[in-house]
């Protein structure tokens, strides 16, 4: 049986966290954190745990087709909180189907969104209750 082998010319250090992040340094990146936040900034330093140093960071808030940027400054992000880093295509960035809004507008839109969601969940829970399913840790009134 043929054993698939890697081409000899690739040394093992090609496959390290450092090598993977090296070509992302000094680029404009979007970092998604475990709590769902999206940070946009320039990657200046990192280590093998994907601890990151970001410069000129803004936090981008989204709601449907709106977004808003909140200036945040310099960040050291502990690696365990990082979901992913994405390199932003500077050409594509300009023709996004999104409209910039103020932070307050986003907050309003997000509040509306979560209220709608809550209402939907409540409706669903009530219907399930009618069928004999009890929602966990929740009282259906």
């Amino acid at each position: 049986m043929d054993v698939p082998v890697l081409p000899e010319q690739l040394p093992p250090q090609v496959f390290t966290t450092g090598a993977q992040l090296l070509d992302l340094t000094d680029k404009k990146l979007v970092i998604v954190l475990r709590d769902g936040r999206k940070l946009i900034g320039t990657l200046r330093s990192y280590d093998q745990y994907a601890n990151l140093v970001l410069q000129d960071t803004v936090e981008r808030l989204y709601s449907q087709d709106l977004y808003a940027d909140v200036p945040r400054g310099c960040y050291i992000v502990r690696g365990e909180n990082v979901l992913l880093l994405g390199e932003i295509d500077l050409d594509k960035e300009d023709d996004l189907p999104l409209k910039q809004a103020t932070v307050d507008e986003i907050y309003d839109a997000q509040r509306l969104e979560s209220a709608n969601k809550k209402q939907k969940e409540k409706k669903k829970a009530r219907k399930l209750h009618g069928l004999g399913f009890e929602a966990e840790n929740e009282l259906v009134l």
Binding site: P4, F15, Q20, V30, R34, L96, L98
Partner: protein, 98 residues
């Protein structure tokens, strides 16, 4: 180290990564390291309307600890070979323990 080696054989194949937050990203596997951090090129988010923050992104680095599944192209995986490698590694471990 078995899965690290296995993922190395999948470099340049098209894979779909599903994260623990239910986000699915399809792209070409470019690199993997010992934590199974993964780098993808030419990415496409499976439910793009729901995740607008990635529509201007061309390649991503995904931290291994947040991956739930990696969907692989079936024809790129030799399960018999993988099974064999698993047995061999287990045997080597058992030898080491003696």
């Amino acid at each position: 180290m078995l899965f690290f080696s296995f993922f190395k054989t999948l470099v340049d194949h098209e894979v779909t990564i599903e994260l623990k937050n239910d986000l699915s990203i399809r792209g070409t596997l470019k690199s993997v390291d010992q934590f199974l951090n993964i780098k993808l090129d030419d990415i496409q988010v499976v439910d793009e309307v729901k995740y607008p923050h990635l529509s201007a992104v061309k390649n991503v680095f995904i931290r291994g600890s947040v991956v739930r599944y990696v969907h692989l192209p079936a024809n790129a995986v030799d399960t018999a070979l993988l099974e064999d490698a698993t047995r061999r590694e287990a045997a080597a471990q058992a030898n080491k323990a003696k």
